[in-house]
């Protein structure tokens, strides 16, 4: 593996006093590596990736992202967020702004980029996700799949080193899942580091370098997709796979 870009070192997190949601997480993600995180609901996979850009804070252990240790230091958090893009299950586009304005917001206000340049860059990203003709519409005028592609383009406008996906296709109609996965597969081919929480096993097989299976706040098993799907090592992952692949 190349030099790790994300390192979890014995990371622990609790919700309240009694719910131990992440337990002694040790994980290293190499630059350019594509990781799929799966597991039953409540297993802590969303929390895991949300720690990477500090949407959730961990209470114990060390978490280092691209050389910056994530702590209470706001400056460090700002630094990391500039390098990490995120795509959410519910898209979280800003409904009062047009598609183009959604994309130019951060480059203009955080990156201090002139408007014209930001718009050019935004259009380039929109073309990349094949939705440039919708630039002047409002998010709610688009279909779910289109909205999620806009959300991906918005995250890419920051030119992130790392992209986090939190169940990006779970809120979509079955007919729209493919258009989003296609865009993600294209991204994966361009060498960006990706950490993706998903149950799309087809996607995992197609692009993942490594599959991580979590349960009860722990990493139960990690392996290449072939090995994980064909020959799961633990009872728990075998059980999980039989449920999601069994129908």
């Amino acid at each position: 593996m190349t030099e790790p870009i994300i390192t979890f070192d014995k990371v622990n997190k609790w919700y309240g006093n009694n719910f131990h949601v992440l337990r002694d997480i040790d994980l290293q993600v190499g630059a350019g590596e594509r990781i799929v995180v799966c597991g039953p609901s409540g297993s802590g996979k969303s929390t895991l990736i949300r720690c990477i850009n500090r949407l959730e804070e961990h209470q114990q252990g060390r978490l280092v992202v691209d050389g910056v240790e994530i702590t209470d230091d706001l400056k460090a958090i700002d630094d990391v967020r500039k390098k990490v893009g995120m795509v959410f299950q519910q898209f979280n586009l800003f409904p009062h702004l047009t598609v183009l304005e959604n994309l130019t917001l951060s480059p203009m206000w955080v990156g201090r980029m002139p408007k014209k340049e930001a718009e050019e860059k935004a259009m380039e990203q929109l073309r990349r996700v094949r939705i440039a003709e919708q630039a002047l519409k409002y998010p709610l005028q688009l279909s779910g799949g289109q909205q999620q592609r806009v959300a991906i383009a918005r995250a890419l406008c920051l030119t992130p080193k790392i992209m986090l996906f939190d169940e990006p296709t779970s809120a979509l109609d079955p007919e729209m899942i493919k258009e989003v996965l296609d865009v993600m597969i294209e991204m994966a081919e361009q060498g960006i580091t990706m950490v993706c929480v998903t149950h799309e096993m087809g996607f995992a097989k197609a692009v993942a370098d490594r599959v991580i299976f979590m349960d009860e706040g722990q990493i139960v098993e990690q392996n290449t997709p072939e090995a994980f799907f064909n020959n799961p090592q633990s009872e728990r992952s075998r059980d999980f796979l039989s449920k999601i692949l069994g129908h």
């Binding site: 967020r81 959410f88 409002y138 005028q141 918005r154």
Partner: protein, 364 residues
């Protein structure tokens, strides 16, 4: 395998639009609505001609109180006789043109502020400029203009001044209080909560009373703030507390995901509030905010308690001045009711326009 045969769309069997269909759906839907329609219709048929007779045909438009006493209809002559006093109150008669000019200027500024073309940073400077000019001209005391003390400012100009300034100032305060009540810092949060609960816990009239009579007692001898400013501050702080709660309602309706998305894009707290949270939250509570504005406009009539005579107060004074006109105060009150209605209804129409503007992004 069977083939899929699309069914061509066809028109509804019974017309759903047009006046006949509307009447059927809304006025004569079943026997209960039909009975209601007939009953209300009968009342109107009985009432309207009588009102018309009183207000128009038998009314006295010109004349003095003798002709009014003799007539059976309304005495609009009282409005003709007293309208300058009703509109301008105690402001010196010969100087009414100044109050008129100032008010026209302020209304023009308000109308301009309501249009999109003026939503620019220099609008703030324009407000400051117009207000300075307003105060100078209303006060006078220079260039041969007679000096007019603020407690003589009255009538409609005072109503508009108090209402517009308190709304303009209460709004940003309310936004800050609403944000403060959701702040992560306990000190700020409790401070804002205490403010809202304290102000909401007392009637406006007592706030005005304290501003007018208690405040000077607490200040050192010789130190005094103009009564108009004290009253304005009272109304502003009062309106802000209510408006803050309306705005907080809007803030609470913003999904957490919006704030998370803003955070992942690197926006700071204030950038997030200004560009993501507030535009959506305020758009949601336009009707509530306008409700506050309208009630603030009418609440200004309470300043009569501290001897400032805005429209309602001036009206009362005008009517009480001469015993002979006193029986016709109902006509006077109808006159100012009309003025209030015109202003409040305009605000209501404006809020509908704003709602239509902010809802553009929701149309599919």
């Amino acid at each position: 395998m069977s083939t899929f045969n699309a069914i061509a769309p066809r028109p509804a069997p019974q017309s759903n639009s047009g006046p006949v269909a509307w009447c059927r759906a809304n006025l004569f839907h079943d026997w209960k609505t039909s009975a209601g329609t007939l009953l209300i219709g009968l009342i109107l048929v009985w009432l309207l001609p009588r009102f018309f007779q009183w207000a128009i045909t038998n009314a006295v438009w010109y004349g003095n109180y003798d002709t009014c006493h003799a007539a059976s209809g309304a005495c609009w002559a009282v409005v003709r006789e007293k309208f300058r006093f009703i509109l301008f109150g105690r402001y010196p008669h010969a100087e009414h043109w100044r109050a008129l000019l100032c008010t026209a200027m302020l209304l023009g500024l308000i109308l301009a502020s309501c249009t999109r073309a003026f939503w620019r940073p220099w609008l703030v400077a324009l407000w400051v400029g117009v207000l300075v000019l307003y105060l100078a001209l209303m006060r006078g005391g220079f260039a041969g203009l007679r000096f007019v003390e603020t407690d003589l400012w009255s009538g409609l100009p005072l109503t508009i001044l108090l209402a517009s300034l308190s709304m303009v100032m209460a709004f940003p305060i309310a936004v800050c209080i609403a944000l403060g009540r959701r702040s992560g810092m306990p000190a700020i949060r409790s401070l804002c909560t205490v403010y809202v609960e304290l102000i909401r816990g007392v009637p406006l009239i007592s706030v005005l009373f304290m501003a007018s009579f208690m405040f000077p007692l607490l200040m050192p001898q010789g130190f005094n703030i103009d009564v108009l400013i004290r009253v304005l501050a009272g109304i502003t702080l009062f309106a802000a507390a209510y408006m803050a709660e309306v705005i907080r309602g809007g803030l609470q309706a913003i999904p957490k995901g919006q704030i998370e998305a803003a955070a992942t894009l690197g926006l700071s707290y204030w950038q997030t509030q200004r560009m993501i949270v507030l535009p959506q939250a305020l758009a949601m509570v336009v009707p509530g905010i306008m409700n506050n504005f309208i009630s603030t406009f009418k609440d200004t009539s309470l300043v009569a308690i501290v001897s400032l005579y805005e429209l309602t107060g001036a009206m009362g004074m005008a009517m009480n001045a001469e015993a002979d006109w006193r029986p016709f105060r109902i006509e006077g009150y109808l006159f100012i009711a009309l003025i209030y209605f015109v202003f409040c209804y305009s605000m209501s129409l404006y809020s509908q326009w704003i709602e239509a503007q902010v809802n553009k992004s929701k149309q599919r």
